[in-house]
């Protein structure tokens, strides 16, 4: 177990990563607002370093009602490697669908609780937000990432997240976390980017290179 997690990133590295996440999610919000014509209200991102076994409790503590959520998950691979978890509050799919679907047949909108349209919409919104955010972060840090297809998951959050073999239970993870809300209280949620321990050395070097442009 790595007991020196506080020393994994310096204060300046954390602050730089926070600013890069801020820019990444700002870029993602602009992309999604163009596609779905809803304004995205942003918050200040946070950066945390945790021992891997503490990851689930951390996510649960940050998500108000973690039993009533929809999660879009997507892996990203390259030097910047990890898992994106886009967590929507219950009803987000319906909220987004009704905001978008004024021209749609009412019967379609009132279909089963998690119908095909809602699923498709959450996957699409997730794909755009994660892709734009992770892509921008990678670009700023001089990397190009590949993605797995987005998946909509339910069930046990812990089982799902810890089943990813990119997370070494004996090591640490870096978590980039931001909260967002769509205009008119249509939907809200949060994005967690969990980077694997393998990325840490590269990330520290990439952050130094990023900052050196401004010295």
């Amino acid at each position: 177990m790595n007991n020196n997690r506080q020393e994994v990133l310096t204060t300046e590295e954390k602050d730089t990563l926070q600013e890069i996440m801020n820019i990444g999610f700002g870029s993602a919000a602009a992309d999604i607002s163009e596609v779905i014509n809803l304004y995205v209200i942003l918050s200040v991102p946070t950066i945390s370093v945790l021992n891997t076994p503490d990851l689930i409790e951390y996510i649960k503590s940050e998500v108000a009602d973690h039993k009533n959520i929809s999660i879009v998950e997507q892996n990203f691979f390259s030097k910047f490697k990890g898992l994106a978890l886009l967590i929507f509050t219950l009803g987000a799919g319906k909220g987004l669908l009704s905001a978008l679907g004024k021209g749609l047949d009412k019967e379609i909108l009132e279909s089963d609780p998690m119908g095909m349209l809602e699923e498709d919409l959450l996957l699409e919104v997730g794909n755009i937000l994660v892709g734009a955010c992770v892509g921008k972060i990678a670009e700023l840090l001089g990397d190009v990432v590949n993605y797995s297809p987005p998946r909509l998951i339910d069930g046990n959050l812990a089982d799902r997240v810890l089943s990813h073999d990119i997370f070494d239970p004996k090591n640490i993870v870096i978590i980039l976390h931001t909260i967002f809300r769509f205009s008119g209280n249509t939907a809200s949620g949060c994005l967690f980017l969990v980077t694997s321990h393998e990325s840490v050395s590269w990330l520290k070097q990439a952050l130094r290179t990023f900052l050196s442009q401004y010295e």
């Binding site: 300046e12 926070q18 600013e19 801020n22 919000a29 602009a30 304004y39 200040v44 700023l140 900052l211």
Partner: protein
């Protein structure tokens, strides 16, 4: 000497922004990490230019901008933000910001912005 007040909760964002200014010009920078202290500093020093972030803990940059422009309509306020949604830009400009500066800034963009601003101030 030109007084520039930078309001941003991120020390790195402030450092990046300051580094984008030409080194050979006489400027004095003042920094604050949140909207409330930023406003207080504004009232104390009356900067020539204020550059504020939008998304900050506590008082956000939109409120900072609104308060400054309400009390000092002639003040030059530039908004520097990662929130690049068109609606955000429109709100910022409608509240009286001189310009919107997308994060991360570059030396070229900052140089052009300040060249335009100098010309604008001469014409006033």
């Amino acid at each position: 000497m030109q007084k520039i007040l930078i309001i941003d909760d991120s020390p790195v964002a402030r450092k990046i922004l300051k580094s984008c200014f030409p080194k050979d010009e006489q400027r004095e920078f003042f920094e604050e990490g949140d909207g409330t202290t930023g406003l207080q500093r504004f009232e104390n020093i009356h900067p020539d230019i204020t550059i504020t972030d939008l998304t900050m803990p506590g008082m956000g940059g939109m409120e900072v901008l609104e308060r400054i422009k309400t009390n000092h309509p002639e003040a030059i306020v530039i908004v520097s933000s990662a929130d690049i949604q068109p609606v955000t830009r429109e709100r910022v400009i409608s509240l009286g910001a001189y310009a919107f500066l997308k994060k991360p800034p570059s030396k070229e963009i900052v140089a052009k912005l300040f060249a335009d601003l100098t010309q604008y101030q001469r014409q006033k």
